[in-house]
Symmetry: C2
Subunit: 121 residues, 2 copies
């Protein structure tokens, strides 16, 4: 299994079924059975999906009688947002610069992380 957290998160969200589950979990916690309802797959398959989400830190499960309510965690979204935002901004910036210079200057010219940067590649 992927070692680093970010890989696990991205991999978890690479599946449409799991993304749908996440979408529904933003509305309310749900049991595995409730989660399974809309899909045409076995309960066990759904259980596996939930586990993947759990391993990625996207959800947590508690115990409540025989039920195992699944709860969406917000933190990981922040993590992803930070990651994404960084590259999104960089890509846009580069796009602008390239447009400006159009291949006359090499990367001497590349500035350190621009405004509000602060992480290392």
């Amino acid at each position: 299994m992927a070692a680093d957290p970010l890989s696990r998160v991205f991999a978890a969200l690479a599946d449409p079924t799991r993304r749908d589950m996440v979408a529904r979990l933003t509305l309310a916690d749900a049991t595995v059975n409730e989660l399974a309802a809309p899909y045409d797959i076995s309960l066990q398959a759904v259980s596996k999906h939930v586990r993947v989400l759990e391993d990625a830190g996207l959800v947590t499960r508690s115990r409540e009688a025989q039920r195992r309510p699944v709860h969406l965690e917000a933190e990981v979204f922040d993590l992803m947002t930070k990651w994404l935002e960084r590259y999104r901004r960089a890509a846009e910036e580069r796009y602008r610069r390239l447009d400006d210079v159009l291949g006359s200057m090499p990367e001497d010219d590349v500035p350190p992380t621009p405004p509000a940067g602060g992480a290392r590649p």
Copy 2:
């Protein structure tokens, strides 16, 4: 291969090597050979990685003599950001609400999900 764009993007970014490539491409375009340099894998493997990124719409390739410079595209990042932001906010909102409830009553008394599944629209 995953049909929907979002799945492709997430899947593409689920690999650390590919994320690293993306990181480096925010600094400058690069050829496949240049991209391959840091890694201890075959050129063909790198070529495959680039293709995955391309299929996901994260990069484009042009022709320039025998070289095929790889260029990072910013648009897809916007797409992802929008998707993410939506769920991040929803999750936070829900978190706050739950926090509120938890704050006012003992844990084993938590009124869980609306009974009788209010499954999804």
